[in-house]
Amino acid sequence: MTQVFFAEWRKLRRPTLFYGTLASVVGVTALITSLLYLLIDSDQGNSNGGEIINRITLATPHGITIGFSGSAGLLGLVALCVFASQTAQEYTYGTLRNLLVRQPKRLTLLLGKFVSMSVFTLVSVLLSAVLSVAIAFSLAGKADVATDAWTTSAAGSELIHTFINVFLSVIASGTIGMILGLLFRSPISAISIGLAWLMVVENLIAAVVHHSAKWFPGQMITTISSGGDHNASYLYAVIYLAIFLTISFGLVAYLFQRRDVSN
């Protein structure tokens, strides 16, 4: 497992992927956190879906985390793309056969890759958290938002909880990407189907069919990142996603173990 982890890490740390992904994370976090403060007086809203988050809310201990948690959705999409492409490209490049000759225990190979990509995700989420907090402090004065509550222990606790929630939600998105990569064996198919489902299909059905959101993984990922919302409680979302991802990952892992590697 350790060998698989470090072998995968060698691939993940190549400059175009490593710095490219981190640049995306920086861009997404900077954009969402900055807009939260720069558009604070806008009638169009300053957060997801045109929601208005006012100065009073931002000035609470929770306020410091709002920009960061708002980035979770897009960070999740970045993770989905990385997990899906890193998994499915082994098929398209034909490199899977090389890997399996060197590590014939297929489940070990899969888990090692997963852990390696999860650590990569952890680095990304950590960067996003640090950047979001830094931007929040630097723009708070300009937006006339009080920051006294942000330096309290309550704010620290909020930050840790939000970090865990965002990390879990991003890992869940990445896991879906890996599942799709194993299933479709093509980065383009896996990513396009994943994005279309999470961004379009789920939202459409959830908007049309009452109370259906709690059955959709993408919706529950959003619920986790926000620590619980109107769709479902935090605990429900965690349990639902844990069951959904365990069963889905188990099925594709079984397929991966049994399937002939013929390309």
Binding site: Q3, A7, R10, Y93, T95, L100, V101, P104, N263
Partner: protein, 302 residues
């Protein structure tokens, strides 16, 4: 320890109604070079995939270095392989690609540079794989196969895309490895190469093994050709007639007569020709090449 590197018994693979490999049985001795030949689609790569645990046989069994192919983790640490050509990550350098595999296999990464030097890629180690020519990619594939310092090397068409000098280098490399005790199981369409380097041969046709044994034994089983030449081209028809009257088939090829017959009959043929007033300027007995034998046995005229 067994002296057998590969042993297959009734090894089979079925895809739906099609038998890709049917009851293949053969053995490859340790420390030898075994050529694996057959027309396109005859089941060579499928057999190699089964031996490496990449696909599951639908029948039969096989052992590699004494271990069943049902447990590839027990023998693959001692096996190097390149199947269906080289496959690497285009955005990584040649050296980094090898380091990925070395790390995965638990081999020292300081082995990478010496292997790249050995296959003639030392000066391009830090170039991205996507900039490599086909021949360079093949060399990198061979270097990757050598990473574990293997007891068994399984190579599928390793000389594809190599220039004549490269082919000769690979031939010398494989011979040196075999001399050091490495078993080499190699498929190739370069039959002249296989004939030159292989100690034994496994020949497939439509998924079935039609020969497994020493290369020399296969060639000796074939009918030699007696080649006769006369200074007078008008004598060629007469020579052909003499051969046919003695029960030997033959044909005129350019300015020579080719007669199928045992080497021992050449002397008698020379006497018959002399008695008919024909003086031969050349008389020799040649065994068919592996290529000719291959076409004869497989009926493949590619």
């Amino acid at each position: 320890m067994s002296q057998i590197a590969i042993s297959a018994t009734d090894l089979s693979k079925r895809y739906g109604e099609r038998m890709a490999v049917s009851h293949a049985s053969f053995e490859v001795s340790l420390g030898t070079i075994c050529g694996f030949v057959g027309p396109n689609g005859s089941g060579k790569t499928t057999t190699m995939r089964m031996l490496l645990g990449l696909i599951t046989p639908t029948g039969g069994s096989a052992t590699i270095l004494g271990e069943s192919i049902a447990s590839p983790e027990k023998y693959l640490h001692g096996v190097g392989a390149m199947i269906e050509g080289p496959a690497f990550y285009p955005a990584l350098t040649g050296a980094e690609n090898l380091r990925v595999l070395a790390t995965l296999g638990g081999f020292p990464t300081d082995r990478v540079q010496s292997l790249l030097d050995r296959v003639g890629l030392g000066d391009r180690a830090d170039s991205k794989y996507k900039t490599y020519s086909l021949g360079m990619k093949q060399r990198l594939g061979i270097a990757a196969a050598l990473l574990p310092e293997p007891k068994l090397l399984v190579l599928d068409e390793p000389t594809n895309g190599l220039d004549p000098a490269g082919i000769q280098e690979v031939r010398e490399l494989l011979r040196a490895l075999a001399d050091d005790g490495t078993t080499v199981f190699i498929s190739s369409h370069q039959l002249s190469e296989i004939e030159m380097i292989s100690d034994s041969l496994v020949m497939l046709r439509k998924g079935e093994v039609i020969f497994a044994g020493k290369t020399q034994d296969l060639l000796l089983q074939q009918q030699p050709t007696i080649v006769a030449r006369s200074n007078n081209s008008k004598d060629l028809e007469k020579l052909l007639k003499i051969a046919k009257e003695s029960g030997h088939e033959g044909s005129i090829v350019n300015d020579t007569v080719h007669i199928l017959g045992p080497r021992e009959w050449a002397g008698a043929f020379n006497k018959l020709a002399f008695d008919s007033g024909i003086v031969l300027s050349e008389l020799s007995s040649v065994l068919p090449t592996l290529e000719e034998t291959f076409f004869e046995m497989t009926g493949d005229l590619q």
